[in-house]
Symmetry: C2
Subunit: 203 residues, 2 copies
DNA sequence: TCACTTGTTGAATGATCGCTCAAGAAAGAA
DNA sequence: TTCTTTCTTGAGCGATCATTCAACAAGTGA
């Protein structure tokens, strides 16, 4: 029972505008993207942006939330969820990251990792917002690793936190290297070398 | 034969001011550090900064050059130069990075890796300046790895570029994790797991 | 002593920042 | 038609940005 909207209808596609904003933030980061950059990319004027999305910080949070639901970010969680063992999930995620982070059809690397690294004090909450997401992801990796140790997928005494940090270090490093122009074929052999150190079974 | 300086002498210690500027840029990055932030940290006024260091970009380049000569950045090259084998140099550098990047006595991570990642188009040359340094370092790693393969330190068929990317991915990932608040004891076990995959001799 | 050189001071430059507002336009409701 | 609601437009807000300038201060050289 959706009521008919009163008042003048929006003249632009909200989802398309959000996608354009996502691309800008992904490419330049939060602070380096100005409202002027956004309105130009979205094809609207400032007052329309503020009416439809709130202020810049609110828009950015909505961008991040929608980004995390896309395949460009969700591939990690899906790999860990869908594969039967931790090694398979982790290996699939890291190999996929080498491809996705360097895919030329969109900005390099991961938006959550890259978009708010150098930030003035006035935007410290945005920096913390992304950092909290990243650290929560590391904690989720550690939980998955503890489960794997319990299941006997890893040798006794293997440190689940070490596995989680290995994973986080590699993912964040891949994102950085992609931002520096590395290609998938540059990164994949490095990923394979890292996977070679895996302590347990590869099944 | 240093001539005596004519004119009014400088009222501040240029090296100390440069160190203060380094700290600011290291902590916040290039764009998020304003001239006002710098003059406050350096204890001087804008006109003195411009007289002594040129404009913001020139100051930043001098900061980066002096930073690279410090132990906080030079430890990588020294590890690779001083150790007899590539593995030893690489292992020493990565273990040291886990400690140095998280050392609470200075800002987290590496200035060259972190200080210009989200940058507006007007400062694209600064972004490129640091990226070129990083990519030149990767190329230097690859050269060192080619030499190691030639020397027989690594199994036949080992890809020197893969070794270089493994090294770069890990270093840049460590810098990122340190920026997110990870400690040395968080990161070291992850480093050890990565080193465990090394294909050749550990000597 | 006086010219010359260099550094410091405080104010001010134009540009850009995120954001807002008054006026008008386009829809449904009465 | 007229009222109400919502959106768009274009102009403009104060704040902050990097940078500069004229006036003054503190040294050296003659």
């Amino acid at each position: 029972m959706t009521e008919t909207r009163r008042g003048r209808p929006r003249a632009f596609d909200r989802d398309a505008a959000l996608a354009a904003a996502t691309r800008m933030f992904w490419e330049r980061g939060y602070e380096a993207t100005s409202i002027g950059d956004l309105t130009e990319a979205m094809g609207i004027r400032p007052a329309s942006l503020y009416a439809a999305f709130g202020d810049k910080k609110t828009l950015f949070r909505e961008v991040v939330e929608s980004y995390q639901r896309t395949e460009w970010a969700d591939f990690v969680g899906r790999a860990l969820d869908e594969e039967a063992t931790l090694y398979r999930g982790l290996a699939r995620a890291l190999r996929a990251a080498a491809g996705i982070y360097t895919d030329p059809s969109h900005p390099a690397g991961c938006l959550v990792i890259r978009a708010a690294t150098n930030v003035a004090p006035r935007d410290a909450e945005i920096e913390a917002y992304l950092r909290d997401i990243r650290n929560a992801n590391v904690e989720a990796f550690a939980g998955r690793a503890r489960e794997a140790v319990r299941r006997g997928e890893l040798p006794d005494g293997t440190d689940p936190d070490a596995v989680a940090q290995l994973f986080a270090i590699t993912l964040q490093g891949l994102s950085q290297r992609a931002g520096d122009g590395a290609t998938a074929s540059d990164l994949l052999p490095g990923v394979e070398m890292i996977l070679a150190g895996w302590p347990g079974s590869r099944d």
